[in-house]
Each structure stands twice: as structure tokens, then as C-alpha cells.
Amino acid sequence: MSIIYMLLAISVCVAIVFFIAFIVSVRKGQYDDTYTPSVRMLFEDELLDISETETDDPSDNKPINLNQK
């Protein structure tokens, strides 16, 4: 039954690892903006799609003229 010492130690360690992961993610600002990522993830496919079909020569894609009125 002394295995329970070991099990307890493991379970507490696992819990602490997740707890630290939580603190780190808060500190990095993951919870500061909870809305934009939910919208952004829906764009990812679209982005890939374009970059595949795009012509290889970026200079072909004429940059817009800033002074144009």
C-alpha cells in the first residue's frame, strides 16, 4: 500500500505542471483577448488557398500607389 506515496507524489506533480502551464499562459497574455483568435482561426484555410493559387512572382502584384488620389 506504500505505493500510495508514489501515486500521491505523481498526481500532485502532474497537477502542479498544469497549474504552472496555466500561470505561464496567463502571463503571456493568452487570456487578454479571447475574441479575435476565435474569428481568426476561421481564416486560416482561406489564406492557404490564396497562397497556393497565387502567381509566384510577387512583383507582378503591383503595389498600390500611395500618392494616388
Binding site: R40, F43, I50
Partner: protein, 804 residues
């Protein structure tokens, strides 16, 4: 009617067809062109008509050429990489996020861009070698996302986000979960062999988990209780801190002397639930700012004109506003804000003060006249000489009033704290009396009973009633477009007995005027000529009159002359027309002719020197003000406090109930004093305003509410921002706030009931840890359920409105 493919406005004035799509203006068409040539068409697939029509005035961002200003704005600048953070108020949908995050496809010099939608900010990393900050800003403006750069950005400090509550909540939640597991075995199998061996380990582990909860998560309660006692106030945190301390000490003694398993699960649960309540109460609207002063309204820089000598060429220079000195000549372009008190030197000045003083109609200034800071120039460019620096100008001096330096509105005694005083005294006396009785009956149990009373009496449920009720209401209000700064505002809202309205911009709308014609009817030819004449003029009155008349045909005028401040004159095929002030059109000296009220805004017309009549401009009042005043006058004292002249007094007297007192010609300072005097007479005042001139009154009042037609544009510091479309619901919001207070009172009763049951166990000496572990979460959860259900019930009328 055709709708613009880009912005969704109706194309009633003109329609531009491009690639089989119709656009309302050239600006919209250009944005579409930019997007479609850069493969950003997906913008229009994501949402229907997501665009914003771009408005760009030449030279508006010239100040971004000044390296000092650029350095202030850039967040990071090293080598060729620069990072800048802009506030873009116009972003509103997923298309906006998409296009703003794909800016790099427009210009390769932009390395990446990241949107924070709730805050409406965009963080752009770009290569400063290939694109300047000015070009970047112009690019954003040209696609309709003009960043908001104001004087406030000048003193921007690195943003400090306080996340301590999340950490505390995390620690408490983590410990609570683990302690629950560890305390469970002892509740069921009391005398089992293995449990006997392990229970000491379990208990000391629970003790270890509780340490950070008591000393870190719960630290706020000890500090607040200490501060309360210092200022001789028994706030709600006093019994809470007492409860936490007793729980911890009693449990530690229990496990040290092996008397029992202690109350560690109750302790952790208590702290966790209390912090959860605090967290719930903190609903912030990141895209709104409730702390703004004139700094976020003023521009960051202006164009200074340097003249070295009379015959030397004029030199223009962009300078920061704080660098302006007395005697400097500055250039103010159309639609720009006057940053300091000045004297007009050159140009036609037509200054719109509606935001600053409450005057509804723009004022004409002539050369040599004084122009106060804060006004917005409406026609063309002017040159002015600074006579007072920014901080000393007439408007900004208002902010030196002590009201603005006060930290919050702390004098308010909230409901929870007022009940806590009686509660604490009652609990302490019960604890002492029962201990004395037990000392006679069985001295060995006296300590247990004493601590048990303090433990069950810990007002967890009481402390949760207000946060959850107010937090719920705050969210309901937010869904109904009343955005409050903090939950406490609702309690103050319920206590209000006097409501003061500003006139211009609050009771009236900013944009529309009601125009009525009085006089001899115009013939079709005259009307046509009038329309064509008005079209040629840039004066705001001509423009709004022209919009109202809806001209279908426009003549090319033979002759046209505009006299600033007087009127316009035009002729077509021998027909003559004069439009303007009475003295101008009738060639008479002031004071003669028909009686004229100076406070009214009129545009007179003569055709071929024959007087025809005049158009009368009146403020147009918001819908539902009759209803509001009628409903509110039964329960509240009402007043209208305006910075405008008395022109509308007669009209308002007839329209509003008699009990409403009307006050005109009040300067910003006067408004503040007015509110202060009412408060000194014991009234709780709510100020409803909109502009900078109300800022003092808003800060002084118990609740300062700002009406805003577009919540993204500037509004002065206040306790809440109300969308103008929900103006007529003010009565409902007030009623709901007082209903919220009754809900809190009922929850107090409910939680007192739980306390009584707990006390029953405690005074008889039967409080087992398991009883506390059931009672405490049960009371907390039932309070949360109770308040949530009832706030939903009382606000169903408001909520029904959102759905419809």
C-alpha cells in the same frame, strides 16, 4: 434603391458603377479597386458590405514626418524593424480583422499585423526603410481604417495589465480541487486501517495546499479588513477575514493535536467562491474608455507657420502641441480642432463649439477675434496666433478642478458594507455569549464552539449576493447598449433622486435640424435657383438646407458671391436671389424690419429684391424625450442644464413638464458648481451629458452618463456610456437598478437563513467538518442561482427588445 457594394449605404446622391458593382462614392470604389487588384476579394465574401467609406483630408497626417512624434508613437524601433500599435475605431466585423491581418499582401514592407478586436487595436510590424509611418497611416486611412492618434498617445505609458485576480483565482481553484480529493476519504471511512495510516499525510498535504490560498489568494481580504478597521468601518471584509483566519488556525490546531481533519476544504472553497464573485463583477468593455479627458480629443501636432521676414517665403513646420508657444502662428485646416486659445489672423473662421460649450450652431469669427480651444473649424483653412499655451487655455483649465484628481467616487457606502456592520456585531456577540455558556457546561468544548460560530457565520453568501446580481445586471445593460464602468455604478444609479440633462447633443441630436419655412411660397423657378445657389456654398446652414430640399436639377449660375458671416448672392438669366441673414438680404440696418429674435437661427431669402420669407432652424430633439420626462418627473427631480443661449427656452417650457427646471448659459464650471450645490443639499445626482463642457459635471455627479451616437468616437470621462438609440430606455435602466437592489436584499435574507442553520449546529457543538463542507458551497451556489434567475426575470422586458 441601389446599395453601395463596399459600405452598404444607399447610393442616393450618385452612383458609380465599376465592374458591374455600384458604389456610393469614389472613395468606396477606390477601396474596392485596391482590394480586388491585390486579391483581397475575400473581404466581401466574409460579410456583406463590410466596408467603411474612407475620409481623408490632405495634409492631415503631415505631422508624422516629424521624427520626434514618430519616436513617441513607435513601440519598438531598432534597425529596420518597427512596431506600432494603433487604435482603429472603425473596425467592426470579421472582414475587418481579416483584411487588417493581411495588410502584408497590400504592401510587402509590412511584415505582420495582429488585431485585438475587443480593444480595437492593431499591432503592425513593418520595415521602416521601405515605408514611413506616415505612409502606413495614409494607407490605413485610404482603405477606411483611419487610426486614432491623439494627444493622449503622447504621454502613453506602457500598458500595465493587472492580472493578479486571475492568478489568485487560479491558485485558489487549484488548491480547492486538490484539497477536496484529499479530504474526501475521511468523510466516509473513519476507522479503516489504511486510512488511519495515511490520514496524517493527507492532512499535512491539505495544510500545504492551503498556505498559498490563505496568504496569497486571501491576502486582499486581510488588507481590506485592516484598512476598514483603521478608518473605523466594519466593512464586509472584516467578518470574511475573521472567518478565513479562524478556519485556518482552527484547522491547523486540529491536525497538530490530532483532534480531527480540520476545515481545509471549506477554507479553500470559501476563498475560491469569493474570488469568483469578484471576477464575475469585473466586466470590462475593452474598446471603451471611461477615463478620457481633453487629451484624447485634441490632436497630437499642428502646422506652425514660420516667417523669417516679410519678404521671406513662408515655411511650414509640424510641431507637437506641447511645444506651442505664445505668439506662434499656426495653420488650422478644415475639420481640424483648435488646440489652444488663439486670435484669428487670416481666413474665414466658422467654428463649431457644440462639443465644447453646447452651442448648437457654428459661430462665425472675424479677423482679430478670439477663438477658444476645442472648437472645430468648418470652412477651409485659417491662420491663427496662439495667445495661451495648451494647458492654460480656457477649456483645459476645467481639468485643473480638484474633482478630476479625486480617486474614484469612494464616498458611496454600498449595501453590503452597510449590512456588514450589524452582521459583524451580531456574530461576535453570539460567539462570545455561547462560549461563556459552554465554559460553564463543558469548558473543553468552549474553544471548538467559539471557532465553529465564527466559521459558519462567515458571510460568504452575503458577500456573493451583490457581485453576482450587479455583475448580471452589468451584462444585461451592456447587451442593451448601456456600458457601465463598474458594477458599483448600478447601486449608485438606484440611489439617484435628481436627473440633470444637458441640451445640445443630449436632448437634441448632433446631426439633424428641423427646418421650417415661413413666408410667401417660392415659385418653381425661384426654388431651382435657390437650390443651385445653396449647392455652391460651403456654409453648414446652406448644406443642411440643400440636403433637406432634395434638388433634382442644378443650374449653372451666371453669378455667385459669398460674403462670409452674412450670406450669398447669385443670379441666373436676370433672376436675382439673396440668401442669408436678414440685414444682408434686405440691405437694411440691424434692428429695423420685422421683429427678430437674436437667439433664433434663420436664413432669409429675397428674390429680385423682394422679401420672400425665411427658413427657421430648430434643434431636433431625440425621440422619446416626452415619455422620459413624463415618467421620470413622477419619481425624480429633473433639470435641463445647457451651455447654449435661451433660444429654445420657450419651446422647452411648453414641451416638458412644469416641474422641470431649465437653466441656460451655463459654462462648464457653472455646470460643475450646479451639481455640487445639489449634492450639498443631500441630493444624489445623475448627470446625462455628451460633450467636453459636461466633463466637470459628469465627474462631480454621483452617476455621470454620456450619450453617444457612435460609441467609438470620443466621449469624456464618465461612469457609463449609453448608445443614443437606447436613450428612451433610461427610465427602464433606472427602474431595473432599483429592482437589482431588492434582489440583493432578498439574497441577504436567504443567506442569513443558511447562517442560522449553521449557527444551530455550531452553538450546540455539533459542527463537523463535513457539515461545513456541505453548507458553505450549498449556500454560495444557491445565492448564485437565485440572483441569476431573478435578474433575468426582472430584465426580460429589456431583453425582449434585443430579440425583436
Amino acid at each position: 434603391m441601389q446599395l453601395c457594394f463596399h459600405c452598404g449605404d444607399s447610393c442616393d446622391t450618385q452612383t458609380i458603377v465599376f465592374e458591374e458593382k455600384s458604389f456610393c462614392c469614389n472613395g468606396c470604389k477606390t477601396v474596392y479597386e485596391i482590394f480586388s487588384t491585390n486579391d483581397l476579394d475575400y473581404y466581401y465574401d466574409l460579410e456583406n458590405t463590410p466596408g467603411i467609406s474612407p475620409e481623408l483630408t490632405d495634409g492631415k497626417f503631415d505631422y508624422l514626418e516629424n521624427p520626434d512624434i514618430v519616436a513617441k508613437l513607435l513601440e519598438f524601433d531598432e534597425g529596420s524593424t518597427s512596431v506600432v500599435n494603433f487604435l482603429v475605431p472603425s473596425m467592426h466585423c470579421s472582414s475587418c480583422i481579416w483584411v487588417l491581418e493581411n495588410l502584408s499582401r497590400l504592401i510587402s514592407a509590412i511584415k505582420s499585423s495582429l488585431v485585438n478586436f475587443p480593444e480595437k487595436t492593431i499591432r503592425i510590424t513593418f520595415s521602416s526603410e521601405n515605408i514611413s509611418l506616415k505612409e502606413l497611416v495614409i494607407l490605413l486611412s485610404r482603405i477606411g481604417y483611419e487610426p486614432n492618434i491623439s494627444l493622449e498617445d503622447f504621454s502613453k505609458k506602457p500598458k500595465h495589465i493587472d492580472r493578479s485576480l486571475i492568478y489568485k483565482l487560479g491558485v485558489a481553484g487549484f488548491a480547492f480541487g486538490n484539497v477536496m480529493f484529499l479530504s474526501f476519504p475521511e468523510y466516509f471511512e473513519v476507522n479503516e486501517f489504511w486510512l488511519e495510516r495515511f490520514k496524517h499525510l493527507f492532512r499535512w498535504l491539505m495544510f500545504a495546499f492551503s498556505l498559498p490560498v490563505v496568504f496569497y489568494s486571501g491576502s486582499g481580504y486581510f488588507i481590506s479588513a485592516y484598512k476598514g478597521l483603521q478608518s473605523k468601518i466594519l466593512n464586509i471584509d472584516v467578518p470574511i477575514a475573521l472567518g478565513i483566519a479562524t478556519l485556518f488556525i482552527r484547522s491547523t490546531i486540529d491536525i497538530v493535536f490530532d483532534w480531527g481533519s480540520g476545515f481545509f476544504d471549506s477554507l479553500n472553497g470559501l476563498v475560491f467562491f469569493l474570488l469568483l464573485g469578484k471576477f464575475f463583477q469585473q466586466k470590462t468593455y475593452a474598446f471603451l474608455s471611461f477615463e478620457r479627458d481633453y487629451k484624447s480629443y485634441f490632436p497630437m501636432a499642428v502646422t506652425r507657420i514660420n516667417r523669417k521676414g516679410i519678404y521671406q517665403p513662408v515655411e511650414e513646420e509640424q510641431v507637437q502641441i506641447y511645444d506651442l508657444k505664445q505668439g506662434d502662428h499656426i495653420l488650422i485646416r478644415n475639420e481640424e480642432i483648435i488646440p489652444a486659445d488663439c486670435i484669428l489672423l487670416k481666413g474665414d473662421a466658422l467654428i463649431d463649439y457644440s462639443f465644447v460649450t453646447g452651442e448648437a450652431i457654428p459661430v462665425i469669427k472675424e479677423s482679430g477675434e478670439k477663438i477658444y480651444a476645442g472648437g472645430r473649424q468648418k470652412t477651409g483653412s485659417i491662420e491663427v496666433e496662439v495667445i495661451k499655451v495648451v494647458e492654460q487655455s480656457y477649456l483645459t483649465q476645467l481639468w485643473s478642478n480638484e474633482v478630476f484628481s479625486k480617486e474614484g467616487k469612494g464616498r458611496f457606502q454600498n449595501l453590503t458594507n452597510s449590512i456588514s456592520k450589524h452582521f459583524t456585531i451580531a456574530v461576535l456577540s453570539i460567539a462570545i455569549i455561547t462560549t461563556i455558556i459552554w465554559l460553564y457546561l463543558d469548558p473543553s468544548k468552549a474553544f471548538n464552539v467559539f471557532t465553529a460560530v465564527l466559521i459558519v457565520a462567515c458571510p460568504c453568501a452575503i458577500a456573493l449576493a451583490a457581485p453576482f446580481t450587479l455583475g448580471n445586471l452589468l451584462r444585461i445593460f451592456g447587451r442593451n447598449k448601456l456600458y457601465l464602468k463598474e458594477a458599483q455604478t448600478i447601486e449608485r444609479l438606484a440611489a439617484v433622486d435628481t436627473v440633470i440633462f444637458d441640451k445640445t447633443g443630449t436632448l437634441t441630436t448632433h446631426h439633424k435640424n428641423t427646418i421650417t419655412y415661413n413666408g410667401i411660397a417660392l415659385s418653381a423657378e425661384e426654388e431651382l435657383l435657390l437650390n443651385s445657389t445653396l449647392r455652391a456654398s460651403n456654409h453648414p446652414l446652406s448644406r443642411s438646407l440643400y440636403e433637406m430640399l432634395h434638388a433634382e436639377q442644378i443650374l449653372t449660375l451666371d453669378e455667385f458671391e459669398e460674403k462670409v458671416g452674412k450670406g450669398i448672392q447669385a443670379s441666373y438669366k436676370g433672376q436675382d436671389i439673396k440668401v442669408g441673414s436678414y440685414t444682408y438680404v434686405s440691405d437694411r440696418e440691424a434692428g429695423k424690419g420685422p421683429e427678430k429674435d437674436l437667439n433664433r437661427t434663420e436664413v432669409h431669402i429675397t428674390s429680385n429684391d423682394e422679401y420672400k420669407g425665411y427658413y427657421l432652424f430648430q434643434n431636433s430633439y431625440r425621440k422619446g424625450i416626452d415619455e422620459i420626462f413624463e415618467n421620470l418627473s413622477a419619481t425624480h427631480r429633473l433639470a435641463v442644464l445647457s451651455g447654449d443661449n435661451e433660444g429654445e427656452k420657450e419651446y422647452l417650457t411648453t414641451r416638458l413638464p412644469e416641474s422641470v427646471s431649465l437653466h441656460f448659459n451655463h459654462k462648464p464650471d457653472d455646470k460643475l458648481v450646479f451639481v455640487k450645490r445639489l449634492q450639498q443639499n443631500g441630493h444624489k445626482v445623475m448627470m446625462i451629458g455628451d460633450g467636453l463642457n459636461d466633463a466637470g459635471a459628469l465627474a462631480q455627479s454621483d452617476v455621470g452618463l454620456v450619450i453617444s451616437e457612435d460609441i467609438n468616437v470620443f466621449s469624456p470621462a464618465c461612469d457609463g456610456i449609453l448608445d443614443a438609440s437606447r436613450f428612451k430606455d433610461i427610465t427602464r435602466f433606472l427602474k431595473l437598478s432599483s429592482k437589482g437592489i431588492s434582489i440583493i436584499k432578498w439574497s441577504f435574507l436567504l443567506s442569513l437563513l443558511y447562517n442560522l442553520i449553521g449557527l444551530g449546529f455550531a452553538v450546540t457543538g455539533h459542527l463537523e467538518p463535513v457539515v461545513a463542507a456541505i453548507l458553505m458551497p450549498l449556500s454560495s451556489i444557491s445565492i448564485v442561482v437565485f440572483t441569476t434567475i431573478f435578474t433575468q426575470v426582472v430584465s426580460r422586458k429589456l431583453n425582449a427588445k434585443i430579440k425583436s
